[in-house]
Symmetry: C2
């Protein structure tokens, strides 16, 4: 089932239907470490953080080691005020009691509709069933798959990755699951990801590593430009492998591995973007300053007109030029070159003399391609993944709650 996906030792999983969603769709997930794990996390910057985000931030700030992560879909527990925060505490208390842990070892995430009262009774009943499920008949692979499914909202497919990396202390495993298909934007939106390893690593190192990895992976994707109230990337290191990583070469190996699984999950999120039919890499090079490259890159990646042209497989490079021009960065139009994969489209701010519409259209018919914008004004660059804007995006989001 999960071919070539390495499952990190020292973790168990469960995913069940507790009644937050209609039908018998899975909606409650549990990740359980066999011993206390060093935890790092990156959260949404939205000024309306959801109740579990407020709670999780405190845990991370206090340096709590974690044993268990409970995630529900179907309700975001966001904009639920003081009652929402009490509900998080209640759920954590009940799960801690059921697992014979302390409340501070329980991390909570929620995803779903914003602003509805949190159905705490349903979730509490679910917690009981979830713990029973841990002892149930699923092998760990099936259980991981169930957990990955239970955190989905508008996702069409579950997102699981797992690799092994070789350190000087021995083999270490990295496994990740994620959800997110809409509200995806720069600062991680309606996006949840859980990255697990059996390596042992110092807390400060782990947090700094996660922040760098998130900046290069989940913060480099854009589906619709919206940022959610619930975004969370949590990384756990439980040390079960016995590999205590302190040498900088070993930490580099670990960070490369963490970046690889984070990028793979980020790619899956864009590919599963609400209604998306294309994954497009936007690369800006030759900028004077990374900030300038990023501004232009984000303007192009977020342009509704550009994204709709991708859907129409229309090599309408004028819309890309227009987005470059309104990004708010001083540029020299006469120096700008644009390519679709290997096809040069624009040279010096005007259509390349050798460009043919057929060659451009052929690239846009591919499910994945790159748009490269070279400003020829410096050495800095920035890259983002984006998706196209389609009829299905409208259908999914116009009807989400009905």
């Amino acid at each position: 089932m999960l071919d070539n996906i390495k499952i990190c030792p020292g973790y168990r999983f469960a995913g069940i239907h507790c009644g937050l969603k209609a039908g018998d769709v899975l909606d409650l997930a549990l990740l359980l470490s066999s011993c206390p794990a060093v935890a790092a996390a990156v959260f949404t910057k939205n000024r309306f953080p959801a109740a579990p985000v407020i709670y999780g931030r405190k845990q991370i700030a206090e340096g709590c080691d974690l044993r268990a992560v409970l995630i529900n879909s179907g309700n975001a527990n966001a904009c639920t005020g003081y009652q929402g925060e009490i509900d998080v505490l209640t759920v954590a208390e009940v799960l801690a009691a059921a697992l014979e842990l302390s409340r501070s070892e329980i991390f909570i995430s929620s995803t779903g509709v914003i602003g509805e009262p949190f159905p705490v009774t349903t979730v509490l009943r679910g917690v009981e069933a979830l713990v029973a499920d841990l002892e149930g008949g699923l092998n760990n692979e099936e259980a991981l798959d169930a957990a990955a499914q239970a955190i989905m909202t508008t996702d069409k497919v579950s997102k699981i990755v797992g690799i092994e990396v070789e350190t000087s202390k021995g083999l270490v495993t990295l496994t990740g699951i994620a959800k997110g298909a809409g509200m995806i934007h720069p600062d991680m939106a309606t996006m949840l990801a859980y990255l697990l390893t059996d390596a042992e690593v110092d807390r400060q190192t782990w947090q700094a590593m996660l922040q760098r990895v998130v900046d290069k992976s989940f913060n480099r994707i854009s589906v619709d430009g919206d940022m959610s109230t619930n975004d969370t990337v949590l990384a756990l290191a439980n040390g079960v492998s016995g590999c205590c990583l302190t040498a900088s070469s070993d930490l580099e190996v670990l960070e490369d591995g963490l970046l690889q699984i984070a990028r793979d999950l980020a790619f899956m999120i864009v590919k599963d973007g609400e209604g998306a039919t294309k994954v497009v890499e936007i690369t800006v090079t030759g900028a004077s300053g990374v900030a300038a490259a990023e501004k232009i890159c984000r303007a192009v990646a977020n342009s509704a007109l550009v994204k709709t042209a991708f859907f129409g497989q229309d090599a309408n490079w004028g819309r890309i030029i227009a987005a470059v021009g309104y990004a708010g960065v001083e540029i020299n139009p006469e120096l700008v070159n644009i390519s679709f994969d290997q096809v040069r489209v624009v040279s010096g701010g005007v259509r390349d003399p050798h460009y043919s519409e057929e060659a451009g259209a052929a690239v846009l018919r591919c499910p994945e391609f790159t748009v490269k914008i070279d400003l020829q004004s410096g050495e800095d660059e920035f890259t983002l993944l984006t998706s196209d804007l389609t009829h299905d995006y409208i259908s999914i989001n116009a009807d989400y709650r009905s």
Copy 2:
């Protein structure tokens, strides 16, 4: 035909098909003043200004009085390099000769696809036909309507307004036409507007007045967040009425009139937004600083998720809260109130206890409504008009060139 629309004395109009668009769709328009008119203009801030924008900026900077405005649809003459600029000069020269004017009295605008070579021969042939058409059988009302149609691109309806205002010097008329349905954003995008008056007014006063009016009208609308290379608002005052306005009370009357026709045209543009089925006013009040109010207002007005919810007639206020939260402004979530028209939805950052989904949905079923966001943190406010994001937007823009 143009009921209740006052047509400004001292101007003649023409609109013909010259062959830039398929079929016999009108694609070339002429506005002709019977005497030199004081001109003011506001142009796109896009870093890739189209060739006619580059030319027009020079004319305005040099304080040229204008006699004629030539506007073509079907080709934007943008990203066409040096050749594009030569084409503008050629067209202006030929029109000046045909009308026995000097080239500096001719203003040029283009709208349509970006980056295609400008079909100058087709336009030059059209200029001849257009001048002949001036002498043709249309009365001035029919001719104005033809001109307004000839500047349309993806617009479904032509946009014409005309009013009279009473000054101490006598009656003055203000007439305006505009086009624009997509690429509409803060700083006026793929939007052309021509505002004509028969008042006499000093050039500096006229330019300052136009800038203030544009900031309160065309810069307060958003369809898709894209800003074009060609946006232009041109205002002409030819003094044919004999009313020379210098008293501040008269200038206020003129400015109020100019703002009224600009706002009416801006409203028509949003209503005709590509695929739009709703016109929604977003108002942020209680902000500490206009800039903060504007940032939040624009975040909500441009959110793909919010706009899709409007289309779905879904009172999904959580998406509005999320957009308020990611606008990059420090806010106090516990103070935020949100209403749909008269229906209070959110009080103190959570769902209002008296709110019912039915009441919210009833507002969203209206073709026009207001979303009011009160931050309760200051005295400043900002308002924008936006449209919904629909299947038709995707269809129009995925297939625009095919």
